[in-house]
Every structure is written in structure tokens, then in C-alpha cells.
Amino acid sequence: MNKYEPVIGLEVHIELSTRSKMFCQCSSDYFGKEPNTHTCPICLGLPGAMPKANSQAIEYTHMLGLALNCQIPLSSKFDRKNYFYPDLAKGFQISQYDLPFSQNGFLEIQIASEHTSGVSKDAARHTPEVGQARTKKIGITRAHLEEDTGKLNHATIDGRGVSLIDFNRSGVPLVEVVSEPEMNSSEEAKAYAQKLQQIVRYLKISDVDMEKGSMRIEPNVSLRKKGEKSLPNYKVELKNINSFRFAQAAIEYEIKRQAEILDSGKIPVQETRGWNEFKNQTVSQRSKEAAHDYRYFPEPDLPPFEFNKNYFVKLKKSIPELPDEKFKRFQDEYKLPPYEIEILTRGQKVANDFEEAVKIGNPLGVTPRQISIVMINKKPDMGPASIIKGIVSSLTIIKVATAEELHEIITEILAKHQKAVEDYKSGKENALSFLIGQVMRKAGSKLDVNSVKSMLQEKLRE
């Protein structure tokens, strides 16, 4: 296995949460709705119907492109991707071919450094809890906009196997984000997908729910000999993945499967394989021989777009602080350990609550670190005001104990456990934990461990 290095690229489809569909006025909120109730002549592809582009969806795609550090072409267009499938109403999908709304970007993931060679200098960000880590840039080839298809439901009616088509999803705006094949492990692929999900959530352009299918991951996996730089001459595309866990498992399975084939001197077949969550394995779905010629050509029903600079200036202003920027600012402003910042900035709500709590806590002498610890160790959704209330009241207890009782208790415990004191002084660190425990038990009230610890240490130095 160690002979090979996995080469992984990801195609991620994200359904945008615009109010209406990509090319018609139907509601795009189709999940769980009665089949074929969110339809009209346009998304049903009835004769004569024509598409009208949803400008909100285009804006969202541009926002994502900007957030992914992409180049945004000033002119763009839609193209027709022609293929047959029963869930495809028009016999073609309106998509983008050679002028996507954004291209050539990147996103950054944090990875454990043992997976890579050559650790970058800014690896110092990370705490021991996550191990030595570094930042890796993953290239984004393109992020283009297209329409989703309908959905087939296979059922048995009157003893007959039938396929039913639900067009509620037909025409829902769908962004396809294609990465460069620059990930080298299933962990990296997972980190990439999670980071992409986080960015999209920050932008509030999709609920990116893997289970509902509003985010779909299709990894391309192949292996090359370690040390080789060129891409393998085959790749396997994985489908039917509806969780990050499955994505990782499917990639792991595939790495093993392909390594065995390569070990036997053969080259894995270029094909599409589906993840079977019951068998825990990938299963061949379609081989290269059946690959489509999509016969792309410019969509004649939608004039090409010309965007002006002003539009992008406005759009940039509407983009909120993104995860990486927030991370860096939290480091600079609050001097928290990276591990804590990572948790605090996973979502905007927690990050905002934290910052609000810092504001409320500051005049009361509560430090960002104290807030961070409370939010990470306890449920973080208690709201900034009650976080501060909790911290202030526990501080009060400690103050009372410190002034009157704690001093006495510590003296008493130290006298009672001479052996432990000697142990500690001769260098046995865990003797301190024992003494802390004794003090805590004796006090019988909620005490701040750190305060007890520092007071004990002080006493022991006397």
C-alpha cells in the first residue's frame, strides 16, 4: 500500500437556496413536497417553453467564486449539455461549458503533516491536540452554474415495476465546484469538502445538507507510484455518497481496491462506481465505453452575459467575513489556541455569540479565554448573556473561597498529606493532581480547578 500515492479530485454539486428555480418562477424549495407540484411548462420542458435566468442564482455563484479565490470572467454564457435520461425534461441540461461564471481558484485546508512532505512555515498555528498540522492549498478548476434534474422513483404499482418521475427538483439551481486532483488522502478530501461546506454556509447560499442532497460529492480517485508527479492514466469516479463519512470510506475502499489491482500488474478500469453503504464497498456502475458525447453548444435561448466592474464591487461588499479571515482575526484579537478558534469559527452563530460575549464580559473582567473554554466545554448555544452570567457567578464562588475558606482548606490538606507534598517536591507531578482532588473534595463547592492549582503551587513553593 505504501508504494502508492492516492490522487483525488472532487466534483461537488451544491443546490442554491434561491426562492425560485434557475429558469422559471417555480419554488425551488422542493424537499419533501408532493411530487410534481412545483412545476410549470418551463421546468417540465413543454414544447415552446423557454428559460429565463435567475439573476439571484448567478449572484450566488459569483459570491462562491469570489470566496474560492476564483477568477471571474466579465463575459459568460450558458451552454446546452445534450444527453438522454428520463429525468431530464428537455433532453438537454442547461449548464456551462467553456465560460463558467468562475474558474482558477483555491481553498485552504488544514492537514496533519505526516501525510505530506515539506512542512510549511505557518504550521505553528496548531495545538498539540490536532497534532503537527499545516495548510494545504487545493486548486479549484471551476465553479459553474447549471440546473438540477428531476428525480426517478422506482416503485411497484399493481404488481408491476414502474419508474415514476418527480419534476419538483427539475430546474433547481445547481453549482458544480470542480477541484484540481490535488488531494492525496481521504482525510484531505474530507477536509476539502467540509471546508467548502463551511464557506457555503458562511455565504448563506445553500443549506449544503448531504442527506437531503443539497450537497453531493463525487470524488475521482486514482493511484500513482510514490514520487511520481504525472497523473495516472485512469481515474475512477465515485457516486451515491450522501455523507462525509461515506465519502471517506468510499475513497479508502477504492485506494485499497486499486492498490491490489496495481500490485497484480494491471491497471484499474476507468469507470464510475457507486458506494454501497450496506456492503461497505464501491460497485461498478458505468464503464468508459459508455461515456457520453454531450454535444455542448451555446444555449441559444439565453443571450450571453456581460458583467461590469461595479456589479462585482457591490457583490464583494455583500460577502461576509469568511472562515479563514475569521480564524486569523480571532488569533490576533483574542490570542486563543488554534484548536479553540477552529471550534468557535466553525459556524457564524457560535463565532458571533463568542464575540458578543467578549463585549459583554469585558467590563466585568471576563477574558476571551474564559468565554472560549465555557463555550467549548459546555453547550455553546446558551447565548452570550447567559455565558457571561455563568462565568461571573463561578468567579464569585472562587473569590469567596479564596478569601476565607480556601486558604484554610489548603493548609489543612497539605498538613494532612505530607507524603504527597514530599513527592511533589521531589518531582512527581501527579502528586499535585492528588492534592487538587483532596482540596476540591474538602471544599465541596464548585471551584475553578486552575485557581486551586495555582494557589496550591504557590503554597508548595513556600
Binding site: G48, D293, R295, P300, D301
Partner: protein
């Protein structure tokens, strides 16, 4: 006693507003005539008498209430069967859609409804708009009212025949490569191919989306302007429709041609049949005598038009027809006629990877050159005059086994579609009792000018008064 074959939109509207005739009465006369003549001409796929009577009664109510109505109110019209009509079967003249009933109206149809026109029925045409003779209809060919052994021209064959035979006073058509102009010329009526984007395509079954324009036919130039007043305009459902302001096309139609510069594109006359050439040049002389200046102009890329058109058009056709797979509606794909199959195969080939650059992309480049030819010419002249068809209406069956010969019927019309510019086909005489039409071609959104010129010529010649003997 009124002879309804004399009626124009202008005169019929006058009768109705002056209460000399009720809309219902008028509708019944036309319905009866359509019923009878359809048996001879096969110009309708569906007749809609119940709807027509309802619509006419409503018009009579409005008139009785003293409401001021549009010029098209109460006017019997026929709709090409590519126009989606809510609740009325819309077949595209193909067996594939022989039982398809749309759930919505095309934008033009709803505009015509709002204008209180009377729907006589849905007209026959080459299936999907594919053809220049009407013979590609899966419901049999329509015949030319001027000679029932001959084709009425296509693809809007039924509309032209129905109008020439006065089973309606106006008829809609589509024009992707000449489909409104050619039948207009063959049937001695006025046919418009508007500027691309001037009239909404929404709801009209697409043939080749970048070339399709929504036209119509009338007996007179004035009538044609009246219809465009209703159909033109931006449509939020057609992203390719233009926001260009819609003028009143009848306003100033009688200004004449004095001082206007008219170009004769020499490439259109080089190999032209001598008799047809004479008729067209006589028309040009007529306009000259009315004060226009006539000069020869060059459109050097003219010869590439048909080849370019027969790459782009089938490419788009192959994609547009993909939805008729028999899964959701309509019959299975084996119901497609041979011409549709031919175009699907051609277009699928020209869009295929490895061939796209050599065919579709190259054709799009030539298309641009053809448009530039026109733009250059329009720097020196206000409009162009040229023939509509290289031949007179030909015999039914004459070209059915020779698709290439059939495609060449489009030789003088396709370039306006490639360029996206407007063209008006106006009757300009007869050869051996068969109608001949000329085209007046102008720059983008010059429909008003085309009407002005067509009207001046028509006032002098009145070819529309020569009715078919049926």
C-alpha cells in the same frame, strides 16, 4: 351583400365598429368557408368553431357596451400549429404530438386573445417547420389555392393557403429560413419575418432557436403592420426578445419612398430565372418611378448562406427535438417523419466532439460575416430588394425525393435569418398565373420602413386583388 374575399383587417374592422356586421356573423361566414375549403386545400389541422363563436360573442358584447376596441377585435385569424394554444391540440404537424394539448398559451397567442381576435383554427405546415413546400406535414400537404396541383410554399403552408383562400383575414407563421416569406410569395399574400427578438418566441414550438422568428401573413401591407402592432414587444418569458421600443407601425405608412435608397444585391440576380428576374426588376423600377433611388450593392458572402444555415439549423433542431422521447408526452421517436430524422442525424453529427469546430463553430463565424455584409450594405442604402424564391410554386411531389433541391428553395431567404434582420415578402406580380413575391430587407428593427416601402408599392399595384379561383 359583402364578398368576404374582399375583406382586409382594415375593412372588416370598419364593418364591425360601424355595426354593419356582427362579429359572430362574420365569424360564421369564415368558419363555413374554412370548413368547405379545408377539404380542398388541407390548410387546417384543427378547426375551432366553438372557440371562435365564443370569442365573437364576447366582441359583440363589448361593441354593444360601447367599448373602444383594438383594430384586431373580431378579426378571424388562423394560427400555425406550432403555436401553443391552451386547451387546443397543438401538433407541430407531427404524428409525435398528434394528441398533445398544451396547458398554456404562447405569448403571441395570448396577445392575440387579448386583442379579441377570432381563432378559426390551427393551420397545417411542414412538421416542426422543416420544409419549404408543406409536403413534410404528417397530416398531408396543403395545396396552393392558385393552382391546386402545386405547393403553397412552406413551412407555413396552411397559413398562406388559408389566407389566400380567405378562410381567415390574417394568419400567424414562423420564419426560421423563409417559412413565412416563401409561402406568402407562393400564395400572393404579405408575409413578415420580423427582426430576431422583435416578437416573443415563448410558447411557439422551437425549430432552431437562434434563427426562429415569429411572423405573420396578411392580405395587405397595412394589415400586416396592424398585426405587428399587437405581437411585437419585449416578453419577460423570452430572454432573447428585445426591449427596443415598439412604434405604431401603421403611423406614417403612407409617407412614400421619395428619397429612399434601395439596393439590389447583385448576387441575388446572377443565376435568377429570367422571368422572375424581370418581375423583381420591374418592381424596383416601379419604386424608382415613385421617387426611390435604386443602386446595385454587394453581399459577397451570400453564396455561403444555405450551407451555413444547414449546419446551424439542424444542430439546434437536433437539440430542440430531444425532448420528444415519448417518456413524458407524445408518441415515441419512431413517429418522427423522415425529414425530422434527417435533421436530427445531421445536427447530432455537426455538434459531435471532434466535428463541432469544423461545422457548428465555423458556420457561426460565417454567419457573422453574412451579417457584416448586410451592415455594410445598409451604410449606403436604406433597404434591399430581392426575390423571395428562385422558382415559381412547384408541383406537389416534384422535389420530395430530392432534399437538396428542396433546401435550395431557401436560397434567397435564409440569409436574413442568419443575420437576424427583418424582411417583408410583398406580392409583385404573376407569371403563368402563379404568384411571385419580392422581399424588402432592412436593418435591425426597420419594420416600419419596410411597411412604408411595401405600402407605396402595393398602392400602385394592388396585386392582392387578384384572387385565386376556388
Amino acid at each position: 351583400m359583402i364578398d368576404i374575399t374582399d375583406l382586409t383587417i382594415e375593412s372588416a374592422s370598419n364593418l364591425l365598429s360601424k355595426k354593419q356586421m356582427k362579429a359572430e356573423e362574420l365569424a360564421k361566414l369564415f368558419l363555413a368557408r374554412a370548413e368547405v375549403l379545408n377539404k380542398k386545400l388541407n390548410c387546417f389541422i384543427t378547426l375551432t368553431p366553438d372557440i371562435a363563436i365564443d370569442q365573437a360573442k364576447r366582441v359583440d358584447d363589448f361593441i354593444a357596451q360601447g367599448q373602444k376596441l383594438n383594430d384586431l377585435a373580431g378579426i378571424p385569424i388562423a394560427l400555425k400549429d406550432l403555436f401553443s394554444t391552451k386547451g387546443i391540440k397543438t401538433t407541430a404537424a407531427s404524428k409525435v404530438l398528434e394528441n398533445y394539448v398544451p396547458v398554456y398559451d404562447a405569448t403571441v397567442v395570448s396577445k392575440l386573445k387579448d386583442a379579441n381576435t377570432i381563432f378559426i383554427g390551427k393551420t397545417n405546415h411542414d412538421a416542426w417547420g422543416h420544409g419549404g413546400s408543406g409536403e413534410n406535414s404528417d397530416f398531408g400537404p396543403s395545396v396552393n389555392p392558385y393552382d391546386q396541383k402545386r405547393v403553397p410554399g412552406g413551412s407555413s403552408s396552411g397559413s398562406a393557403a388559408a389566407l389566400a383562400a380567405t378562410t381567415c383575414i390574417a394568419a400567424t407563421g414562423t420564419d426560421t429560413g423563409g417559412s413565412s416569406r416563401l409561402p406568402a410569395a407562393f400564395c400572393n399574400v404579405v408575409g413578415l419575418k420580423p427582426t430576431y427578438g422583435r416578437v416573443s418566441r415563448y410558447g411557439v414550438i422551437a425549430m432552431a432557436s437562434s434563427l426562429d422568428s415569429i411572423g405573420h401573413m396578411t392580405k395587405t401591407v397595412y394589415d400586416n403592420a396592424v398585426v405587428l402592432n399587437v405581437t411585437a414587444g419585449h416578453d419577460e418569458f423570452d430572454a432573447t426578445s428585445s426591449a427596443e421600443k415598439v412604434p405604431d407601425y401603421t403611423d406614417g405608412i403612407g409617407r412614400g419612398v421619395s428619397g429612399l435608397k434601395i439596393g439590389l444585391p447583385k448576387e441575388y440576380f446572377e443565376k435568377l430565372d429570367a422571368k422572375i428576374k424581370k418581375v423583381i426588376l420591374d418592381a424596383a423600377k416601379k419604386l424608382e418611378s415613385l421617387g426611390a433611388k435604386v443602386t446595385e450593392v454587394d453581399l459577397p458572402n451570400t453564396q455561403y448562406g444555405v450551407a451555413t444555415y444547414y449546419i446551424i439549423q439542424p444542430s439546434e433542431v437536433s437539440s430542440n427535438l430531444a425532448r420528444y422521447d415519448g417518456v413524458r408526452f407524445g408518441n415515441f421517436r419512431d413517429s418522427f417523419g423522415s425529414e425530422a430524422k434527417r435533421r436530427i442525424i445531421l445536427g447530432t453529427f455537426t455538434l459531435s466532439s471532434g466535428y463541432y469546430d469544423a461545422y457548428y463553430l465555423k458556420a457561426m463565424k460565417v454567419r457573422r460575416l453574412i451579417r457584416e455584409d448586410y451592415l455594410k450594405a445598409f451604410k449606403n442604402v436604406d433597404c434591399l430588394i430581392c426575390p423571395v424564391s428562385p422558382t415559381l410554386p412547384f408541383k406537389i411531389g416534384e422535389k420530395v425525393d430530392d432534399p437538396l433541391a428542396m433546401y435550395l428553395a431557401d436560397i434567397y431567404t435564409v440569409n436574413a435569418n442568419l443575420a437576424g434582420i427583418p424582411a417583408l415578402a410583398v406580392p409583385c406580380g404573376f407569371i403563368d398565373d402563379l404568384p411571385v413575391g419580392m422581399q424588402i430587407v432592412g436593418p435591425d428593427f426597420s419594420e416600419k420602413l419596410l411597411y412604408q416601402i411595401g405600402y407605396a408599392y402595393e398602392q400602385e399595384t394592388k396585386w392582392y386583388q387578384q384572387k385565386p379561383k376556388i
